[in-house]
């Protein structure tokens, strides 16, 4: 069996890639995808440690995460859609009417 810390490292790496995407991408969809990556990093942990601990809590929770991620994306795309209609752009940095 693969030692647990490797899963942790893998998940951390995926999570960091997600964070990197969040920080560098200004396209709203890419932002969303990066967040999905972060969620999936969590899922890796859940599934891996579900196996590790021998219970299905983690796996079930992974399913929940996926469901919620899907719902999140549904809402997100809706918001991005109205963003495009109002600002003619899907660039998250374009909407800066409110600040300070």
């Amino acid at each position: 069996m693969v030692p647990a810390q490797w899963y942790l490292l893998l998940a951390a790496a995926v999570f960091c890639i997600g964070v990197f995407g969040v920080l560098t991408r200004s396209n709203a969809l890419m932002f969303l995808m990066s967040v999905e990556l972060m969620l999936n990093a969590a899922n890796i942990n859940f599934v891996a440690f579900s196996l590790q601990w021998g219970n299905v809590t983690g796996q079930t929770f992974g399913l929940f995460t996926m469901a919620i991620a899907a719902a999140e994306v549904a809402i997100g795309i809706g918001i991005i859609l109205v963003l495009y209609r109002n600002f003619r752009d899907t660039d998250v940095t374009s909407a800066t009417t409110m600040r300070w």
Binding site: V2, V56, Q59, L63, A67, A71, A74, G78, L81
Partner: protein, 137 residues
Amino acid sequence: MNPWIAIGALAVMGVGIPLGMMAVSAILRPSVPEQGKSAIYESGEIPTGTTRIRFNIQYYMVALLFVIFDIETVLIFPWTVIYRSALESGVGLGKVLFPMLLFIGILTMPLVWAWRNGAVEWVKSPRATSRKVEGES
């Protein structure tokens, strides 16, 4: 035996087979360069524009409806796995079946709502009456 050997073998096979096929075909086939061969295959249509085209937003609604069923399936799956064994171990039918019926019932409600609000109607022109077409969730 190290369990990684199997994974390594799988990886070698996975990469080796396509590479091998391409190599073999490159060796065997005659080389006759022609413009039509390097064009993108579009079932006979002449390709225009780039790959980055916009899809009609109404696909979004379809995608969302798909998500509903997708999630439904995902969440029903563990239930199906334990359904029979739960029944066999003596848990009553009401306790096993009813929660899932409730869940599906709750999920049905938004589906009906989306249907009634026109999520599945395909509007010809997106500029024409677009009311209540792309309502969220």
